[in-house]
Symmetry: C2
Subunit: 303 residues, 2 copies
C-alpha cells in the first residue's frame, strides 16, 4: 500500500461539453485509465447524456454548462466548431484548464477572443487526428486515440502548466502529442482532410447528377468505393468545417484546380511521357506516405 | 458414369495473351472450374509464363502469339490497352472466339478495325469490373471475378453464338454479365473509375509538391488515406487508360471542375445552407450506392 490509486489521478473533475463520438471516447478513455476522480458531462441532447451515463462513459450529468464547468479542473469542449462561441459564453471561467477538439483551430481561438477578449492562458486548443464513420456516444471507444496524433496549438502567452496537463491527458489516452501554430494546423488540415472530403462530396454529387444516376453507381468499382466512403460523413459537420476553415481550404482547392487543369491539358494534347511522370511521382509520394504510416504503427507498441 | 468430365468443358483450348493479374486469374479460374481441356498462354515477359506454369495457372507456354492462337477455340486478350493493336496483328485469325479485358472499349474496337477492316464477328469485347492492388500472375486468383460485373460490348454484326460462349466463360467464373454499347461503357467507366483515379493522383501530387511535403503526409488522416490508396495503382497502366479514353474522361473532368467551382463559390460567399444541401444530397447518393453494393452481394450467394 505504498501508493494509493488517487496518486495516479491527474485530474479531480473532468467536464466534457458535447458528448458525441469524440467527447464520449475521451470520457471513456479517462475512466478506463483512471485519469480523473470523476467525469461529468453536458450536451444539448439530453438523450445522449442519459445514454452516456447508462453506458458508464460518464459518472454524472450536469444540468447546464455553468454547472458542468464551475467545479471542474479540466474542461473538454467537444462541440461542433460553430457552437464553440456560445458554449464559451456559458462557461464559469476560473482557473480551470480548458481544451477543445475542433477540426479548425483558427475559429476556436477567434471565438475565445470574442468572448474573453483574448485566448485565456489556460485554454490550450487541441485537435485529435482520429475519428470513425460511427456517430454518437453509443460508439464511444476508450482506445480511439491510441497511436493517433493530437495537435495542440498553444500561444506564446499560454500557461506552460496548462499545456503540460493537456499533454498528460492525451498521452494518458495513448495519443502522440505534437505542437504547431494555429495557422499551420489549419493549412495542413485543409490539405490533408478538408480538401479530400470536399473532393469526395463533389465527385458523388457530380456522378449522381448525371442522367442515369442509378446506373452509374451500379458499375462503380473499387476506385470509386474508396473515394466515396468519406462522402458518407456527416454533411452538417463538414459544411461547418468548410466554412470555418474557408481561406486555407480555398487556397488548397485552388492549388488542386491548377493541377487538374495541367493534367487535363496533358491528356488533351497526348503528352504520354509527362502524364506518366506525374502519375509515377504521385505513386512514389503515396508509397512514402504508406511507409510513414507503417513506421508510426510499428513505433507505438502495445502498452 | 453417366457424364464424363469432358461434357462440362465449354472450351477445348483457351489461349490467354498477357499473363498478368487479370489474364492469370482468368486462366486459374478456367482450370479451377474445369471449363477447358487445356489453357495455354503467351506473354512478352518469359518469366511470367514460367511462373504461371510452375504455379499451375496454365498448362502450356506458347512460343509466340501466332502459335498461341492458331489452335485455340477461345482467345483472351489480357494485354495493356496500348498493346492491343500489335497483338491483334500477330493473331492467326480463323473462327476462334476472341474477347479482351481492356478498361477502354473504344480503343480496342478501333484497333481491331485498323487490323481487320472491321470488328471480327467472333471478337466480343469485354471488361471485368474487378481488380486488385496486387500485380502479376503471382497474384492470380481464380475467384477474382466472383460477384463482380463483366460488361460485354458486342456490335449489331457480332455472332450471337460467340457472344453466348463468352458469356458462358464469365458466368463459369462466377461473374454477372451485362451488355452495353462501346460508347456507353466508356462514358460510365470514365466517370466511375478513370476520373476517381485521375483525382487521386492529382491530389497526392498536389500535396507532395508543397513546401513541407513530408510533414503534410504525417498528419494525413483517414480521409486522405482512403483517397490516396488508388494513387498506388500502376502509373503506366493508368496513363495508358487516360489516353485511351481521352474524350469521355475530359468530359467527366469538365463536369467535375464545374462542380468544384460551384462549391468554391458557395464556400467563399458563405452560403451555408446551399453547402449543406449539396453535401446532404451527396451523402444520400453515396448511401444509395452502398445499398446497391450490399444488395448485389446478398444476391450472389455461394455456388
Amino acid at each position: 500500500m505504498v501508493e494509493s490509486p488517487q496518486i495516479k489521478q491527474e485530474f479531480r473533475q473532468v467536464s466534457v461539453i458535447g458528448l458525441g463520438l469524440i467527447g464520449g471516447s475521451i470520457a471513456a478513455g479517462i475512466k478506463q485509465q483512471g485519469l480523473a476522480s470523476s467525469v461529468s458531462a453536458w450536451d444539448a441532447n439530453a438523450a445522449s447524456l442519459a445514454l452516456g451515463h447508462d453506458l458508464g462513459v460518464i459518472d454524472s450529468i450536469a444540468a447546464d454548462i455553468h454547472e458542468a464547468t464551475a467545479q471542474a479542473d479540466l474542461i473538454i469542449l467537444a462541440v461542433p466548431v460553430q457552437s464553440m462561441e456560445q458554449v464559451l459564453r456559458d462557461i464559469d471561467l476560473k482557473d480551470q484548464v480548458i481544451t477543445d477538439v475542433g477540426s479548425v483551430k483558427g475559429i476556436a481561438v477567434e471565438a475565445a477572443r470574442r468572448v474573453f477578449g483574448k485566448l485565456p492562458e489556460n485554454f490550450i486548443p487541441g485537435h485529435p487526428i482520429a475519428g470513425s464513420e460511427k456517430h454518437g456516444v453509443v460508439a464511444a471507444d476508450p482506445n480511439l486515440f491510441r497511436q493517433h496524433k493530437v495537435i495542440l496549438t498553444p500561444e506564446e502567452a499560454s500557461n506552460p502548466a496548462a499545456i503540460a496537463r493537456v499533454e498528460k491527458l492525451w498521452r494518458g489516452l495513448g495519443a502522440d502529442v505534437v505542437r504547431m501554430s494555429v495557422s499551420h494546423h489549419d493549412d495542413v488540415l485543409a490539405q490533408t482532410s478538408h480538401l479530400p472530403h470536399l473532393l469526395a462530396y463533389a465527385l458523388v454529387d457530380t456522378l449522381s447528377a448525371g442522367g442515369d444516376s442509378l446506373e452509374v453507381f451500379e458499375y462503380a468499382a473499387g476506385g470509386f468505393r474508396d473515394f466515396s466512403r468519406i462522402a458518407a460523413s456527416d454533411p452538417i459537420m463538414w459544411s461547418d468545417i468548410f466554412q470555418a476553415n474557408r481561406e486555407p481550404l480555398v487556397q488548397a482547392l485552388d492549388q488542386y484546380l491548377l493541377k487538374l487543369e495541367t493534367l487535363k491539358q496533358l491528356i488533351e494534347s497526348g503528352e504520354a511521357d509527362q502524364i506518366k511522370d506525374l502519375l509515377s511521382r504521385a505513386k512514389v509520394a503515396r508509397d512514402h506516405f504508406s511507409n510513414i504510416q507503417a513506421i508510426a504503427r510499428s513505433k507505438s507498441g502495445p502498452d
